[in-house]
Symmetry: none
Subunit: 193 residues, 4 copies
DNA sequence: AATGAATGAGCCTTCATTCAT
DNA sequence: GATGAATGAAGGCTCATTCAT
């Protein structure tokens, strides 16, 4: 029975190390060592170190974008869509924590290829449109600036990579709920609620 | 009276390059070249590359922590304190944009010395206490979890390094106002307002 | 009867690549790729990369040496022998252009095994003897130094690998004729001819 | 008293090794070892290995081209110009033997930059024009094809790198004289001379 | 203060070769 | 015969750091 190829082991090890030490500070020798092969052997699987970064990051990035795309098409009030966005985002973060962290540290905001910029842009603009509709429909307050508000929400969620731990006691769902509740209802107590 | 030297030029150049390319990918030769001296000459100013990173980052970090400390001591309602926190944070980000970005990319959430961890922890806990008091006083809604809410706010603000540009048309003040308004009042339109 | 295998394909591909990129800069993966097999599979045909170089080069080298040996035994005037040598040399170069180019680039003048040195030496000395006899018989001018003159001729012919193209308009025969005519008659116009 | 920089030592060592083992088979470690420094230290002097190749080769190539250019402008019979070309070529080969050998092995006939192709082309065409004029003036025989004859001469001279040794008993001048005499007068004895 | 040559370790990558399947 | 994963050495190159001048 043939042992399965070690591609998955390699991507996992790379993801973990990229997250811990950063892409630039992780050597291929580190990765190879974690898998238990020689660094030259990595080149059976990849053509360059950067390819490994992209391999780590592509799937979760595509996954979350898909989810947001789908939520946008549903026929729901803006607030409910935002709630679902927050939960999908937090859920993906939870399930692909290491991979997603690498994305946010190494790809987002760095000058990378058109592929990633386009992904970032679509992700943002899809949510912006939800917020815009919320304002237009009167569901959201008139003081809401759709773009800034969206970046506020995304920032809250992405910052989770700095403090959330998947194996911790606090579930991602609860966090998502808190983040979107504060985003939607505000921290200040509403007189009539 | 200390003779002015090229120390400031060096720190500025380092900050800019660290932000653009990341700490690990910036070489001392890059920095020396930006200042117009030779690589070896840098060692008249520093003892190691890491020292340069800390030099870049120390002042703005200390500055913002000071501000938050002071705000915490004021006798104001929680909502007003949060508003001031957001403005102080955004203002520091605006004024020390490159330096602060380096801090967030290279120090925050990385395993650095006790000095930085302590700073991060104090910053967070100071704001958490403001929120806690807000909840206790009934100013903030009972569903607010002080720690998560604080991290939500900080995340929103820190994410600015991914999209805010100091020289841009949108002033940091307006952004701070939007972020804390959404944080405090929520995006959803309040029936009785 | 030996089953035809891909041996010839492999040697052809190797020859072409050795000529284009040089022996040292051609990888076995390049060669395997050109044939359409995997790198490891090459080792069913060869034991080492160098063996492939020798395989490329052995046949044409042996062929031209055989021809020169035979010409030397004929009972002809020196000038006619030289003419035949030039034609044989140019003809072999034309027919085995890629292989012969590899020989001249990678074997001739390099420190290779006794086998190749002996071949080179015999080739040279066989022609030198023809010239010597030409001088001794009074067919060739007394100022002719047999060894230098022979190296002059061989150099002219071998330099063809730098500019001759088998598929070009100018046939190798015409070139051989020009080279040996200049060698024998000289470029300067003879008063009484 | 400051020790002079080791640039010359480095180029010399590189030239020697490139000639002996070929450019591709010579490692920077070989070169550094020959000079007595570490391989990383080479990068104070060069930006890439190829730059070292060009440094080895540029001066003698430019020198010989200059000489041929000058000879072409003189008011002399074609045969005398050719004689001077042969002597200049052989003399440069003699004085810069290792460098020139590297040029012929590694640059000539390889797919290099426009700079080298242009040099090769100008060198050839300058001599071709001398021969053309010789034919037109009736100094050279009508059977002389200027381009092929020129390549014949150049080939003879360049082949010297395969057998000439500067420290040997046979001086380059004598060889040049023999090569151009055979080229001009032919090996065959002239009845009326 | 500044230089610039040198260090020495380490990095990404290539590659001839081996071998179990 | 062929595969493809793995090896292990080496190659070109980078870089933080040192130090004599």
């Amino acid at each position: 029975m043939p042992r399965p190829s070690r591609w998955n082991e390699i991507v996992d090890a790379a993801a973990k190390l990229f997250q811990e030490k950063g892409y630039a500070s992780t050597s291929l020798e580190d990765i190879a060592g974690a898998v238990g092969i020689w660094k030259g052997s990595l080149y059976h699987y990849i053509d360059s170190k950067e390819e490994l970064l992209f391999a780590v990051v592509r799937e979760p990035a595509a996954h979350i974008l898909d989810q947001i795309r789908e939520i946008a098409t549903l026929d729901l009030p803006a607030a409910e869509k935002i709630r679902r966005v927050a939960h999908a985002h937090a859920h993906t973060l939870d399930e692909t924590f290491v991979y997603a962290s690498v994305y946010l540290q190494e790809i987002a905001g760095r000058h990378h290829s058109a592929e990633w910029s386009a992904m970032d842009r679509e992700y943002l603009s899809t949510i912006v449109r939800i917020v815009e509709k919320g304002v237009a429909d009167g569901d959201f307050a008139p003081y809401v600036d759709p773009r800034i508000a969206t970046l506020t929400l995304i920032g809250s969620l992405n910052w989770m990579t700095h403090w959330y731990r998947p194996e911790g006691a606090l579930p991602a769902t609860a966090i998502a709920e808190q983040i979107c509740t504060v985003f939607l209802q505000g921290a200040v107590r509403r007189s009539t609620s």
